[in-house]
């Protein structure tokens, strides 16, 4: 589904990602964990080209993202992204947030887009909020709308960048539930998270980044029970 080869990313002289190679297969749920500043967000953002890699390649369904600009928008349509701070469109209602991109980008008819949006809102448990504006929603509700908005484009891959980190503790669960559901439905997912519980239970694979280096890449059980490297052991000791 998506293949990363020898990915490097520099901000000025700051080398944030160093020689990352990995692959995410269709239907796989991959958790990306690591200390703050280790490059997790940057890695995720390289996957849909919100950041341009300094070198190396990102290949989605056989298409190299470093190709011409036109393809990039097409490829981005296949990749949904959920941000820590939601980034819902504040001047649009919940329903419009979900229908805008499918109508504008894919040329879907309004009736169809709305029908699909309502199905998605039902799925994330927010059917009663379709006419609400984002500012009237709680954090957990906003994030569920954001997930639904990304899903409305019917992506093949979903990227999550710390989707629960900006939420009050009592709202984390409702968002994780939605994500678990999505994982069960077979969606391919890459999730940057500090929720070790989610990584352990839901992920098929865990990627551990430290100082921009991919240090471990393996099964959650192995990673959590017997980490191979010193760095991963140190990290786990601190967070568990």
């Amino acid at each position: 589904m998506i293949k990363v080869e020898k990915l490097y990313k520099k901000f000025g002289n700051n080398e944030v990602l160093k020689d990352i190679s990995t692959e995410i297969k269709k239907g796989e749920v991959v958790s990306i964990i690591g200390p703050s500043g280790s490059g997790k967000s940057t890695f995720l953002r390289c996957l849909n080209l919100l950041e341009t890699p300094t070198s190396g390649s990102v290949i989605v369904n056989g298409q190299d993202l470093s190709g011409p600009k036109k393809d990039i928008q097409k490829i981005r349509q296949q990749i949904g992204m959920v941000f820590q701070h939601f980034h819902l469109f504040p001047h649009l209602t919940v329903l419009e947030n979900l229908t805008y991109a499918p109508m504008k980008v894919k040329g879907e008819k309004k009736a169809l887009a709305e029908e699909k949006a309502r199905t998605l809102l039902k799925r994330v448990g927010l059917s009663d909020k379709e006419k609400a504006y984002p500012s009237s929603l709680s954090g957990g509700q906003k994030q569920r709308v954001a997930i639904a908005r990304a899903l409305a484009m019917e992506p093949e891959l979903m990227l999550f960048d710390e989707p629960t980190s900006a939420l009050d503790p009592e709202m984390v669960k409702e968002v994780l539930e939605v994500m678990k559901d999505l994982a069960k439905s077979g969606m391919t997912m890459a999730v940057v998270t500090h929720e070790m519980g989610f990584a352990r239970e839901v992920a098929d694979r865990v990627i551990f980044l430290d100082h921009g280096v991919l240090v471990e890449d393996g099964q959650p059980i192995e990673f959590f029970n017997s980490p191979k490297t010193e760095r991963a052991r140190d990290f786990l000791e601190k967070v568990l």
Partner: protein, 219 residues
């Protein structure tokens, strides 16, 4: 103290007419300023370097020199250079329009850049093309930052419009001077148009506040 307002009474219709004359050119200047200002702002946030330089240089020149000088240059240099005898009215619109476009472009640029960067990223991640993103996502949000500052610019423009009296345009200010020299009394007519300017500015201020409150309500 020898103030005598009774003497200006016959001149009041003449001076009141100045309100219309002033507002007329301010109105056209604002339209010109808004159109040019929007274009310049798009140059500034765009990725085409020469256009960005042009817009920056333009802004720097018009903000870095006195408006009265710009007005004089337009009024006196156009006939001298082209032979076209430009009217005070047209000169005033040009000078004020060109000048305010520099300020308005800054207002619009700042308003756009004040929109949370996450909005642009969310739009990009959804595959929304640049133009649609600007038009439907970024600009509607920027408008909330822009409109109050724009209102201020209009108020400033209305006040500063008095300097067109220096090129003989018969605006409010000029009319006060005309009446003053007719009567050999300057203070009363000046005070009278001062009051009118104040009313105009207050009117615009109140309008702006109402407008802002409506924007807040729609949040």
């Amino acid at each position: 103290m020898n103030l005598d307002f009774s003497q200006i009474v016959p001149y009041i219709p003449f001076m009141l007419e100045g309100i219309w004359v002033t507002l007329k050119f301010v109105f056209f200047a604002i339209i010109l300023g808004a159109i040019l200002g929007t274009i310049l702002a798009l140059f500034k946030i765009g990725s085409i370097k020469p256009l960005r330089w042009f817009a920056d240089a333009y802004t720097s020149i018009f903000r870095g020199t006195p408006l009265i000088l710009q007005l004089m240059i337009i009024y006196y240099s156009i006939p001298q250079l082209t032979g076209y005898d430009i009217s005070p009215f047209l000169s005033a619109i040009l000078a004020f329009g060109l000048n305010s476009s520099a300020y308005i472009s800054e207002i619009i640029r700042a308003g756009i850049q004040a929109v949370d960067k996450g909005q642009m990223e969310a739009a990009q991640a959804l595959g929304i093309p640049y133009r649609a993103m600007m038009k439907d996502i970024i600009l509607p949000q920027a408008l909330k930052n822009i409109l109050p500052a724009l209102m201020n610019e209009f108020i400033t423009l209305t006040k500063e419009s008095a300097i067109v009296s220096t090129i003989g345009y018969l605006d409010l200010m000029r009319r006060a001077q005309v009446v003053g020299s007719d009567l050999f009394r300057n203070f009363e007519p000046l005070l009278f148009v001062g009051l009118i300017y104040w009313c105009l500015v207050m009117g615009l201020t109140v309008l702006g506040r109402l407008f802002e409150r409506r924007l807040k309500l729609s949040d």
